[in-house]
């Protein structure tokens, strides 16, 4: 039998005290698509990194075609045809597409010079075969996440790897891109490739995979034939039999250790935040409409434009909208249409060249004016899309990543109060159901756990009056996503205004009261989410196909 097997793999990270793998066993047959599913932090990525030779197991063995092998480096794994497509693509932004693909494996002329023609020919042929629309001489830094992933896939094929490991490939992709990726993977399977894919989403797994391995707490629960399981069974397997209590109860003492009443009298326009009723429906299944909109405008964006000299992407032009208390405003766009820039503006990273931003009628706290921590009465919660670089500092501990946001509180009189910092951090994490040590380094956690840590920091009680959420559920498993949505509902009920910038249209449609579509930096649609909006309609607006619906709100025109 032609198989690649991982047997009894264990891996412990001493600095963070995480037992990532605990006797995990996985067997994949050549020429199949094999999915590995499990919750955040179940050890999927670690297991894959071990198979790719990027980590060394403490115990256990890798057996390829009945012969045990040891992968000292990724290059050795590469000799066995194993290549990994990373969750966060490893690309060199200043190199061209073809340079990135051929990097390190360039064919040589007279053993010295890179044979660019061969590279070009090979890249063009591969792009044609797989239907990738990539310009070989384009600079990679100017391309989007989908293209980066295609480059990673091409790179592995270019290196003649026939066992591809894809680490959560769908978490960075939009709906249509996921479909085309799956077509590519099926095509590769037909060509004899073996594909190992990590994902959270049961529907995707069942649509694509032949075999499914479920992981939980570092162990493999079992291996299943995709034809014999259905979505509910799979979800139950992922979460375990005793699925955690999803009701999200919050006691009135907040995560910061203050009582529910704000300590200092809040500045005049801000309403004191009311503690939520515990019997409030804490778990949302459909669109959230339980809360009453308040006419108080939390955020007003007035005709902002951003012109930058260097950027090739469309800038923002004349964007206006406002978000009221308790309102969720979904904002979506195809990549490169100004959503990234809007995130930078709302996050305080980019100063609009014209227009006004007001937060409760006052000037918006743009950098270098300090962002207040989310737990302050005038704080802004901001979950960035670039969680690794902007959301956390991976060389600090978890706790330091929390206290960095509020030096005033955690460094009373300029000196650190580590004890308080640790207690509060641990409490905020536990409140969000993240069970990690606050003292451990954050860089060793899995991508999903890091995202949960950021969410715990930004969305803990007391809630910020304004939240900027950018792809908040990226990389989260089902349980955590449900928990997050419930939390968002609760924050709304409590009077927070939420800007939801997301590439996930399902998420936008499920959560938003109002949806704003950007196209080429302009507002292409401003719709009330009355339950009649379809993904197709949003898609058409995102592509700039005219007024794709009758309910384009007139306020856009009237505000001018």
């Amino acid at each position: 039998m032609q198989t690649i097997c991982l047997e009894n793999i264990s891996k412990f990270y001493p600095t963070s005290g995480v037992q990532a793998n605990d006797g995990a066993t996985l067997c994949l047959a050549r020429g199949t698509i094999h999915a590995v599913v499990g919750e955040n932090g179940a050890g999927k990525t670690t297991l894959m990194r071990i198979l790719a030779g990027q980590e060394h197991p403490d115990s256990g063995s890798i057996v390829i075609d009945d012969k045990p092998v040891v992968f000292k480096t990724p290059a050795v794994a590469g000799q066995y045809g194993i290549g990994m497509v990373h969750q966060h693509p490893l690309i060199i932004p200043d190199f061209t597409v073809e340079q990135n693909i051929a990097f390190g494996f360039e064919p040589r002329k007279s053993r010295i010079f890179v044979d660019e023609e061969v590279v070009r020919a090979k890249v063009v042929a591969l792009c044609g075969e797989l239907g990738f629309d990539l310009e070989p001489s384009a600079l990679v830094g100017s391309l989007g996440a989908g293209a980066h992933q295609q480059i990673e896939i091409l790179r592995q094929i270019f290196r003649n790897r026939e066992i591809l490991i894809l680490d959560e490939p769908t978490s960075v992709l939009a709906e249509q891109e996921i479909h085309s990726l799956f077509d590519v993977l099926r095509h590769l399977k037909a060509r004899g490739f073996t594909i190992l894919i990590i994902t959270h989403k049961p529907r995707e797994v069942l649509a694509l995979a032949d075999q499914i391995t479920v992981m939980r707490h570092g162990k493999t629960v079992g291996q299943y034939d995709a034809r014999t399981v259905d979505e509910t069974r799979l979800a139950r397997l992922i979460m375990g039999t005793n699925s955690p209590d999803m009701t999200d109860a919050i006691d009135t003492t907040d995560a910061i250790g203050r009582t529910a009443k704000p300590e200092e009298p809040s500045m005049q326009p801000i309403q004191p935040i009311q503690p939520i009723q515990p019997e409030q429906p804490g778990f949302c299944t459909g669109r959230i409409s339980t809360h009453n909109l308040d006419s108080t405008k939390t955020l007003e964006v007035g005709r902002i434009s951003v012109r930058s000299r260097h950027s090739r992407t469309p800038q923002l032009e004349d964007v206006s909208f406002s978000i009221c208390r308790g309102e969720i405003c979904g904002i979506c766009a195809l990549s490169g249409n100004g959503l990234e820039l809007l995130e930078d503006v709302l996050g305080g990273f980019e100063r609009p060249s014209s227009g006004s931003l007001r937060f409760y009628g006052k000037p918006y706290p743009l950098y270098p004016d300090l962002r207040q921590p989310p737990w302050n009465p005038e704080g802004i919660a901001y979950v960035p899309s670039d969680r690794m670089r902007r959301g956390v500092c991976d060389r600090l501990s978890v706790e330091e990543n929390f206290i960095a946001l509020d030096r005033k509180r955690f460094f009373p009189h300029g000196f650190a109060n580590r004890q308080v910092a640790r207690e509060i951090t641990q409490r905020m994490l536990e409140d969000f159901g993240v069970h990690i040590r606050a003292a451990g380094p954050i860089g060793e956690l899995s991508g999903g756990t890091i995202q949960k840590t950021i969410l715990a920091r930004e969305l803990s009680w007391p809630f910020a009056p304004l939240c900027i959420l950018c792809d908040p559920s990226a990389g989260l498993d089902i349980t955590s996503t449900d928990f997050l949505y419930a939390r968002i509902a609760k924050m709304c009920a409590n009077g927070s205004a939420i800007a939801l910038l997301s590439s996930n249209l399902d998420e936008i449609l499920t959560l938003s009261d109002r949806i704003i579509v950007l196209h080429r930096g302009r507002v292409a649609g401003d719709l009330q989410n009355d339950g009649k909006i379809t993904k197709e309609k949003l898609g058409a607006l995102m592509l700039g196909l005219g007024s794709a619906g009758s309910n384009v709100v007139q306020s856009q025109r009237m505000s001018r």
Partner: protein, 384 residues
């Protein structure tokens, strides 16, 4: 560092809603890093032994001169400790810059300029008939620190305003300063009654009290230890130190957290320059009492190595500075006592510098993945 920043901003500009992230960092524990450092130290000692074996006529004698004599008598031992004093202070300066991810390569010039300014101020005060020795020292050292701070701050401002790489600007500024000080010492400020290229000599009452005669060791070593303690407190316990480290580790996150990153590309270089210059001033008051042309040559570079060995931990600066002082004392003793040439000693020191920076620099800048030292430790941890 400049280039890394540029890469970050290039990636940021290049759209993509979820941006590329550098390869996952495998963090090494303090012990693992210490092990690599100790290995480098061992390797450098081995290199010295091999060099002596190759080039010395009397191998065992020079071996003894190099490794044993520094401990053998009070004079050498005291001088060795005395040399560690400026290394500790300047090393603290280098560590401050490193912790904020700035690279101050201008240590040489800053030490030298600090020494000259301290000498000139003290000579001036003496000329005016100042009696209060302590006050003269304080004013002179303060003036020295101010000078160094200005030189360092100059690089910081260039970086902040014009995006000039502080490595290049501090190095070039330092080279310039060295020539200016050389000129002043050999020209306008030269003592006409001396054969040395040196300034006038201060009366010995102006110096720090000696504590281990006949060696140069003075009470300045206690001041250096106090400074190191303060440095530790500032870096580890204060919000200033924390913000400095955060902006050093990840500018984007610092900005996200509302830390004013601009400040932290200037202030650490000011502090670093000031500490380097202070080291120069302390050398004057503890040992030389005058500025001699080129007398502090090498301190700025050694300070970088000292800070790298210490991995920016101020407490570790003490053993690290002592190690470098030991090597220095050993090479001086071998040079004087045997046929070993100056060049050989210089080669040995260069080797040490190379080995230390090669092994510790990647750790300081967050690249850890190239040597698998963690395996045994990982297995050990799992069993617990």
């Amino acid at each position: 560092m400049g280039r890394a920043d540029k890469m970050h901003s290039a990636e940021r500009k290049g759209s993509g809603f979820i941006k590329a992230r550098p390869a996952r960092i495998t963090l090494k524990s303090g012990w693992q890093r210490a092990r690599i450092t100790l290995l480098a130290l061992g390797a450098s000692i081995l290199c010295i032994v091999v060099l002596l074996l190759l080039f010395s006529n009397a191998f065992f004698d020079s071996l003894k001169l190099f490794f044993v004599v520094p401990f053998a008598n009070v004079y050498f031992f005291g001088n060795m400790l005395s040399y560690a004093v400026p290394l500790m202070i300047a090393g603290l300066g280098a560590a401050f810059a490193f912790a904020s991810h700035n690279f101050n390569l201008g240590g040489e010039g800053q030490v030298y300029a600090g020494a000259l300014v301290a000498t000139v101020v003290a000579l001036k005060a003496q000329g005016q008939g100042a009696q209060d020795v302590l006050a003269v020292r304080v004013v002179a050292l303060f003036a020295a620190a101010l000078t160094g701070g200005l030189i360092g701050g100059f690089s910081g401002m260039l970086k902040r305003r014009l995006k000039v790489d502080e490595m290049i600007s501090s190095f070039l500024a330092s080279s310039l300063v060295v020539f200016v000080v050389d000129y002043l010492v050999a020209g306008p400020l030269k003592d006409p009654n001396s054969n040395f290229q040196a300034t006038k000599t201060l009366p010995s009452v102006f110096g720090f009290a000696k504590i281990l005669p006949p060696s140069d060791l003075s009470v300045s070593i206690f001041w250096a230890l106090l400074l190191v303690m303060i440095g530790k407190l500032v870096l580890d316990r204060t919000s200033f130190g924390f913000e400095l480290k955060v902006s050093g580790a990840n500018k984007e996150f610092a900005r996200y957290a509302g830390i004013n990153g601009d400040v932290y590309s200037v202030i650490p270089l000011v502090v670093s320059g000031a500490l380097h210059a202070l080291a120069g001033g302390v050398m004057i008051f503890s040992t030389y009492l005058k500025t001699i042309q080129g007398f502090s040559s090498g301190i700025g570079w050694d300070a970088i190595a000292v800070a790298l060995i210490a991995n920016n931990n101020p407490v570790a600066l003490v053993p690290s500075a002592l190690f470098f002082a030991y090597l220095d004392a050993g090479s001086k003793s071998a040079m004087m006592g045997s046929n070993v040439s100056t060049e050989l000693v210089t080669i040995a020191q260069a080797l040490v510098f190379f080995l230390i920076t090669a092994t510790t620099l990647p750790g300081v800048f967050g690249v850890h993945n190239w040597w698998h030292w963690g395996k045994a430790k990982a297995a050990q941890g799992r069993q617990q």
